[in-house]
Symmetry: C2
């Protein structure tokens, strides 16, 4: 396969190149694409280096598969070009996720929906949460998901990680720089504001609602999320209160999680630091919920850049290899 | 009033002395009590200094009121002595909170229960959460509270704040010291573990359940909490999903919060940094819940050392002045 990574210099793009290498994705050629600003830089790949090319003038007809790791506005410009040129595209952005003819895929859940020319990769929190909840949903049928998240800086990109580290360093030295990437100060602080507001919910919160329904193919699951940015580098945590049709059992839920791919049980609980760099989503503290009927609550942690982005995208690419 | 602060050198004790001063609590004399280790140190108070005395040999009969700011084991040793000596005691620990003959008080909610000789001060998360929810409970009657917390280091004491700051500094320099005060590393990390485990819930989570019922005098409210320690210095945040008997209205809920004492509406949302050093609990993002019936969800932030501990205790002391 001739592979292009669009947005190769970003946090997700860089991670994705590492995942391609590590999982020995059959990339005969790799094109690292970014904005003209980054053109000419080199990135490590396959023991050597690849030179970053300007995406703007790139002829997509020389590739078979494009991993699109840019924001949704940029994705809307490049995805049609890549499809037009005959590429299969895995898009990490939110641009096409809710389009009815575009599959939105977490391979452990609905990998059979992968088909050319375009598959959307879910929002990071959605992918991490659902890979943990899908085995429970299959067993007892999830009806409501009430989630509070603890989302790492990496979700806002490489610059956001720098801002977390440099502003924390400044705070320790007694100064308080103005936030740039984040809407509020992130040093020893947190805020319930990820994505723009769309009414009383944020777009991030609505993504968890809409994408959950689409991925599980269940239009009437009710989802309410509070998405919160926390001063953590790169793994997201989620507290999930989940109501089912049938009476769930926490011990059996643990068994189901242990038997499922993409998710691991860690007792008593994993932390974001434990999940950093791990492919598996980690789950702990599975319990009968004390306030809701026929409900479990649990703690879910996943690497935002891996299962939340790059890993899931490459897994979609792997599924494609089986299909074509 | 002749006032003693037991545990004067701790995070809560020091804060409490500041609150007594700031609110001009009529303290004719102030005794700062701590362990023999701290005896002889001085603490600033009332423009001058007070010398810390060893609590062990202290004759409580020289005081009228004792603010007990020590852990529950130590409280169990000293509270009976102080009561025996004729003092009125406000106990910050969990030792007596659930004892039926001891009032557990958030003055804005059940201040009329204050009476000699002993009043218990609630758990920090409980006090912060309930001062925000009480106006909504009075209007629509709360039936279920589902909460996920974001709890600051200060809740684990002054040493915990030092550990957060020093371990974060170490992490920025590339080293990773072993956790001492916390069960897991707190630098750029978080964990759902506050207090010991008691089955599948932690003691902190059970406190929110039991204390909520006692303070609101409603034995059948259902409470499920996930309490999480986060790398924040001194203000707790809470995501609350709240089901009511009657259909609530988010706009009216905002009005009720604006009209209530001890709580302020901050749109679109407050952060822990905004709440630091503030008496009022701050609330934002009040909305109809998308997943639960007759429910609101909202964001609550409060200074853990103030409304979560020292301020509430001093307010109890002030209520006593009205009673005696």
């Amino acid at each position: 396969m001739r592979v292009a990574v669009l947005g190769a210099t970003g946090a997700v793009g860089r991670e994705l190149m590492g995942v391609l290498e590590r999982r020995r994705f059959p990339a005969r050629e790799l094109f690292a694409l970014a904005s003209s600003r980054s053109a000419g830089k080199t990135l490590p790949f396959g023991g050597g280096e690849v030179e970053v090319q300007d995406a703007e003038g790139f002829d997509f007809s020389v590739c078979d598969i494009v991993f699109c790791c840019v924001g949704s506005d940029t994705a809307r410009r490049f995805v049609p070009r890549a499809i037009e040129a005959g590429c299969f595209v895995v898009d990490n952005s939110s641009a096409y996720r809710m389009q009815p003819d575009v599959p939105l895929v977490v391979p452990e859940i609905n990998g059979d929906e992968v088909r050319p020319p375009l598959v959307a990769n879910p929002n990071c929190t959605t992918a991490i949460t659902l890979v943990a909840l899908a085995p429970l949903h299959r067993r007892w049928r999830m009806r409501r998901l009430i989630a509070a998240t603890y989302q790492a800086a990496s979700g806002a990109g490489a610059v956001a990680i720098s801002e977390l580290l440099s502003h924390t360093d400044a705070a320790l030295k007694g100064s308080k720089p103005k936030p740039c990437v984040f809407p509020r100060s992130i040093a020893f602080n947190l805020f319930p504001h990820i994505g723009d507001f769309a009414g009383s919910y944020t777009k991030e919160e609505l993504k968890l609602e809409q994408e959950t329904r689409k991925i599980l193919n269940e239009t009437d699951i009710k989802v309410s999320a509070f998405c919160v940015r926390v001063p953590v580098v790169r793994a997201h945590s989620v507290v999930a209160f989940v109501c089912f049709d049938d009476q769930p059992d926490p011990k059996e839920a643990e068994q189901l999680i242990m038997q499922s791919s993409g998710v691991e049980l860690r007792k008593p609980y994993p932390t974001p630091m434990d999940a950093e760099g791990k492919d598996a989503v980690l789950v702990g503290r599975v319990r009968s919920d004390a306030a809701l009927e026929r409900a479990l609550s649990l703690w879910i942690v996943g690497d935002q850049l891996l299962k939340g982005a790059a890993l899931n995208a490459v897994q979609i690419g792997e599924k494609l290899l089986e299909v074509i």
